[in-house]
Symmetry: C2
Subunit: 311 residues, 2 copies
């Protein structure tokens, strides 16, 4: 499958060569003006872009460069999981300040870890100088029946994968000058795109999904808006980390867990045996104006929360 192109001279291309060597079989086909990808017959191409900026999405004193690389790639790949798409490829654009040049190959290792874990080969990208590190990732996948945000229907059951709140607990600890617990820190350093889980759920009838990047309640609002439905969510059974209450954990962003809507009961015990991860029923889709009505112990919980880059 290797189909790399030999590059001409230049320091920029020396860095491309160093990245190719470091990436090994996690990359292929790098070095032409554009990369060539075969999309399986009968599949739609599924494509998403995600970027992360030093100091906004990560901090060098909180995570290792390799963890930062994993995290940024995993966040992008999580969008393919949300669509139940099979990963095909990844493009990596790095805007690199001088202060990061010494760590960029370690960061690249983290990108390759994520590429290998999901079989999304790195096929191209771009390198430029900059005053701050900006990592822009494009992921490409293929799907026959992609899960979309607009597929939720009144009567559907709502489920979430995983345990919520770890990232919020970790960020709170760091911002207070402390150290997060290993379990909470791991949710920031090593989020796992729920690829296999998503396909399993789609095969069992789930017909709408979103990955939780802004916060469970904020992202639920996107499904409500896209599907023109009301989401009634009871947070009482939401599994949490970091000792957070469910209503706080439901505002934790960067979770990369899935919120899915299914017209049928899903075998949560079977899911948990298969993936060693909780799958929890948290509510129901109802007819009505686009809205999220969340409750805890029967009392209404305020909507929204989570992170907004422009608030």
């Amino acid at each position: 499958m290797r189909d790399d192109i030999t590059l001409g001279p230049g320091k920029e291309f020396d860095l491309v060569r160093a990245l190719e060597e470091r990436w090994g079989d996690a990359a292929h086909g790098i070095g032409d003006d554009a990369a060539l990808i075969d999309v399986p017959a009968g599949h739609q191409l599924v494509v998403s872009a995600d970027s992360a900026v030093d100091g906004v999405h990560f901090r060098r004193d909180w995570l290792t460069p390799r963890e930062i690389g994993w995290r940024v790639a995993a966040a992008a790949l999580s969008d393919l999981a949300a669509m139940a798409a099979d990963p095909l490829a990844m493009l990596v654009s790095l805007s690199i300040p001088d202060a990061w040049l010494g760590d960029i190959l370690d960061l690249a290792d983290g990108l390759a870890d994520a590429a290998r874990a999901t079989a999304a080969h790195i096929v191209g990208g771009d390198l430029t100088g900059a005053r701050e590190l900006c990592i822009a990732i494009t992921v490409l996948g293929a799907a026959v029946n992609p899960l979309r945000r607009n597929g939720a229907r009144p009567g559907d059951l709502l489920y979430v994968t995983g345990r919520f709140g770890g990232p919020l607990a970790a960020f709170t600890a760091w911002q207070g000058g402390g150290r997060p617990s290993p379990a909470d820190r791991d949710r920031v350093a090593h989020p796992v795109p729920r690829m296999r889980e998503s396909r399993w759920l789609a095969e069992r009838g789930a017909h709408a999904a979103i990955d939780v990047s802004d916060g469970l309640l904020s992202d639920a609002a996107h499904i409500a808006a896209a599907s023109h439905v009301r989401l009634a969510i009871a947070l009482d059974h939401l599994p949490t980390l970091g000792g957070l209450s469910p209503d706080t954990a439901a505002r934790s962003g960067d979770e990369y867990e899935l919120l899915v809507a299914s017209p049928r009961d899903i075998d949560t015990a079977g899911f948990e045996r298969r993936f060693e991860l909780p799958l929890t029923a948290i509510g129901r889709v109802e007819a009505g104006d686009a809205d999220v009505v969340a409750t805890l112990h029967g009392a209404r919980v305020a909507p929204g929360g989570g992170f907004d880059h422009f608030s």
Copy 2:
């Protein structure tokens, strides 16, 4: 073809909504976790990423925000032209500092201008806060027989589209505190991806190409390295702008003209009538170690030149 998804509340999504409104029919399908694209049967997907950073790739006091948007998108689309691919779609990731928020919709107009000019709909992307403006574009196209850098063969003829040197002359004028000529400035403000030209050339037998982004001689070295051939280039007839000599113009980057290799004579007069753009024979591909041997008035011209972000 419109298939947009309604988004939930939040200032970040207000900006997405403002962009969607501004883009109109230049965008569609925005708002899901990922965009869905149909790749025509029998075609390979062609994909490339390109990014531009304020102060590195453009300066706000040299170009309008709309020109910056056009330029960044055109540079990315030029990679599809280099592969003779039909554009399908574009993803736009913007990392936006506060100082740019007031101009971002004007910059978005320039992105839409380029999308409309090439039928590459904007289908998604990402918005984040940042301390400096970083624009990361991914372009997607489809091709049955893509032109690659590694297709040049001994005996091929080499051709270039267009006139060279305008960007270098413009940057030199700006950096000296002056103002470039309108013709030179236009080559920076409004480079045109050579989409139709590239397909025309491919249909007439061209079997390798690259777009000139670093400089004609530097980019020729990529073809030489990828195809394992020597490129003999006589610069005497290279059309130039800005009063530059051909050996200087051959080091001007950001040209987004094409260098193509063809086993057959190409009807340059027919090309010029069709596209109102010169197509010039500048040399020949020879067997030998990967190298570029450029001459002017029979004397050897030093290789390389052009811009390297990490030199």
